[in-house]
């Protein structure tokens, strides 16, 4: 991770590269879903890996208001960090190098703000994930009791196939009859984009305080915000 940041810095990028992040070139993003607008996505930086349990533990230690025994019910549902052994200890079900899950949108946002970043938007995330291998078999299978560690590897890791990931504008995902039954296909640019439909269906059903055993996140950073 450090070497990538160094390379990025040496490449003459105006701002210092955020540690652990990779620059994503911008481009046109068209949602394959109905009512999908086109967006011209500006270049941005994205975490190479999802946020881990170890990283999130450091966050709640530094910001105790986000510990599971102190957090406002406004900002997370009762399953927030439920698999951790204690509010300040990971335990067997939350491996340090596994992605953190059971976090709400508010908690994810707060973490990214603490790191000097933010959550990626839908267009940014989908653009970055467009060419990553996306195997539908992951979507079919229930969640294991203990999540595996981040796989690592070149480029941006685990965008698909490890955990769902929060985006900043999840509340922009269509809900209701737009996503129900056949209605989901009306006007869709690509009704065969099943995995995309599955992501949108999830986002359309989430609330900001929701937590899920397979929902984590990673952070994005503006090009010049640092």
């Amino acid at each position: 991770m450090r070497s990538l940041a160094l390379i990025a810095a040496l490449a003459g990028v105006a701002s210092a590269a955020p540690p652990g992040a990779v620059r994503v070139a911008g481009g046109m993003y068209t949602s394959p879903l109905p009512q999908g607008a086109m967006a011209d996505v500006a270049p941005f930086w994205l975490d190479r890996e999802p946020v881990t349990n170890a990283q999130f533990l450091a966050f709640v230690t530094a910001r105790p208001a986000w510990r599971r025994d102190r957090i406002a019910t406004l900002y997370a549902d009762p399953a927030y960090l439920a698999r951790w052994a204690a509010p300040d200890r990971l335990g067997a079900r939350a491996r340090p190098r596994a992605p953190v899950v059971e976090v709400s949108w508010f908690a994810a946002r707060a973490y990214c703000a603490w790191r000097g970043g933010r959550l990626p938007g839908e267009a940014e995330w989908e653009l970055a994930a467009r060419d990553a291998p996306d195997d539908i078999s992951w979507y079919e299978q229930p969640v294991p009791d203990v999540l595996p560690d981040i796989s690592g590897g070149a480029g941006i890791a685990d965008l698909h196939g490890l955990v769902w990931e929060w985006i900043d504008d999840f509340s922009a995902a269509p809900s209701g009859e737009k996503m129900s039954c056949g209605g989901g296909a009306i006007g869709a640019a690509d009704p065969g984009a099943y995995t995309t439909f599955l992501r949108f269906a999830l986002r359309g059903a989430l609330e900001a305080r929701s937590t899920m055993s397979s929902l984590g996140f990673r952070c994005a950073y503006d090009e010049r915000s640092r």
């Binding site: 399953a79 079919e140 229930p142 969640v143 129900s180 099943y194 269906a201 999830l202 055993s213 397979s214």
Partner: protein, 499 residues
């Protein structure tokens, strides 16, 4: 004089009595008409439920919950848990199903028309996906789907009034809906009319559905969903109740002879229409498409994708009755078979087992000739003249094809009968044997050797053979004695019982 007076008095008194009677009769009120039978009050399907809510008893296929016996609508609570599970669809082959209640098809729900149904849809925390539910019994956008989008680890609640009686499919309607249905998210809800369905002895719940896997039929291991096969409507499996063998062997449906069996049969799809048939059964009643108007005496009924039917059969004959989708490759190659085993005393008066097994040597097709089926020997005994007539006709129809109409034969191929020295010298039994059993191998007639194959003609009756031989032996210049039917019978029986 006294007598006459008495008589007059008698007459008068009779007259007066009659008058009194008549008068009395005139003054009686006309009898009121008998009261008309009171029309039964309409069943209550609209009142607001009072009393404690009832928690609905939900069952896994093939079981069906007991009928609700209620005079009035109730407040019914339905607790339905969505669980994503990996199950076997065939020994050694597994698939990741998404289920209502842990099984495919989902739990059966049974309510009464007019009930106010409060649905609690819970999505297990271990689920990967959001799910919801669309009840075809519900009128309103999405059939409940929009009121029930539920993320893993959450519960949604909504309420509807079951206004329409019938048997309705429910299914998950989250995008992409074909995948959610293909992965097992379908079930049925029965909204019973207030008077209840007519009584039967057994009720069963069966639902057909397809599975689309990347691997071939019976490929082992955990199989993935194949969207392209789904789009092309080429399933790998077509199953009753979510697995091969779900209704087979020790899991077969059961009944006793005399039972009236009702099957609530649904079709989750997502693509195919089913041609539902019970082999050896006739549906004496079908509610096509689970509507209100019954049909009778139906062999095979269509069940639309996303639809259902109610079928009833009376099982009078014992045995194993196979349930199939009569698009038969689905039954044979893709798993669409189930069984209904009926036990009880045999009913030979309705269907016998095999009664006879006789040898059949294909004599209808003799050496390339198609020999017309000859009906049974004419009823009633024949006299000699009649037999000769029959024999002449038989010769013309059959023997002449080879031996020619004048018995002249074909040189080198078929021996002549006219003036045949063989015919003149052979014993009756030998000649009869040739007709009954055929003749193979060389035979010399009038100095020429013939080495063909005369086919057996056991299908000819004794009268026909005796008549034909008698004709041949007295025609074409032959002056040989007649052959009797009893002789033919003797040869026939002798060789039949020969070891």
């Amino acid at each position: 004089m006294g007598t006459r007076t008495a008589t007059v008095a008698g007459v008068l008194s009779k007259i007066c009595l009659s008058l009194v009677v008549v008068a009395a009769a005139c003054h009686r009120e006309p009898a009121p008409p008998p009261p008309a039978p009171a029309a039964p009050p309409p069943a209550d399907v609209t009142s607001t439920p009072t009393g404690e809510p009832i928690v609905a008893q939900l069952t896994s296929a093939p079981a069906v919950p007991t009928r609700p016996y209620r005079q009035h609508p109730a407040h019914v609570i339905v607790n339905l848990v969505v669980k994503e599970v990996i199950k076997e669809i065939s020994p050694g082959t597994r698939y990741a199903f998404w289920t209502f209640g842990g099984d495919v098809p989902g739990k059966f729900i049974r309510v009464r028309q007019g009930d106010v149904v409060e649905v609690h849809l819970k999505n297990d925390p271990s689920s990967k996906l959001v799910h919801n539910i669309d009840f075809h019994a519900v009128v309103g956008p999405g059939g409940g789907a929009m009121s029930s989008m539920t993320a893993p680890g959450h519960e949604s609640q909504f309420t509807f009034r079951a206004r329409y009686p019938g048997l309705y499919v429910y299914h998950c309607a989250t995008a992409p809906v074909p995948m959610h249905v293909a992965n097992g998210m379908y079930g049925m809800i029965l909204v019973e009319p207030p008077e209840g369905l007519p009584r039967v002895d057994r009720e069963y719940y069966v639902m057909q559905g397809e599975v689309y896997t990347t691997g071939a039929y019976h490929a082992p291991g955990l199989q993935d969903f194949d969207m392209n096969k789904g789009i092309d409507e080429r399933p790998t499996y077509v199953l009753f109740n979510g697995a091969e063998g779900a209704l087979v062997g020790d899991k077969a449906l059961s009944a006793k002879t005399g039972d009236r069996v009702r099957i609530f049969i649904g079709n989750g799809g997502p693509n195919l229409v089913s041609s539902f048939h019970v082999i050896g059964g006739i549906f004496d009643t079908v509610y096509p498409e689970a509507g209100a108007v019954p049909q009778h005496n139906v062999q095979t009924t269509l069940i639309p994708s996303g639809g259902a039917a109610i079928v009833e059969l009376t099982m009078d004959v014992p045995g194993t009755f196979t349930l199939v989708d009569h698009s038969l490759f689905r039954a044979f190659q893709q798993g669409a078979v189930g069984q209904l085993v009926v036990s009880g005393p045999t009913r030979d008066d309705l269907l016998t087992a095999k009664q006879f097994d006789r040898p059949y040597d294909g004599t209808e097709y003799a050496g390339g000739m198609v020999v017309p089926q000859i009906s049974a020997a004419p009823t009633g005994p024949l006299d000699d003249a009649g037999r000769l007539e029959l024999g002449k006709a038989t010769f013309g129809r059959i023997c002449a094809m080879c031996h020619q109409p004048q018995g002249q034969g074909v040189a080198g191929t078929f021996p002549p009968l006219a003036g045949s020295d063989y015919l003149a010298s052979a014993a009756h039994d030998t000649i009869i044997g040739h007709v009954l059993h055929g003749l193979q191998g060389p035979v010399t007639v009038n100095g020429a050797t013939y080495n063909g194959a005369m086919p057996p003609m056991q299908f000819l009756s004794d009268d026909e053979i005796a008549g034909a031989l008698t004709y041949v032996r007295s025609a074409f210049g032959n002056h040989l004695d007649a052959v009797k039917p009893a002789e033919v019978a003797k040869v026939r029986n002798r060789t039949a019982s020969a070891p």
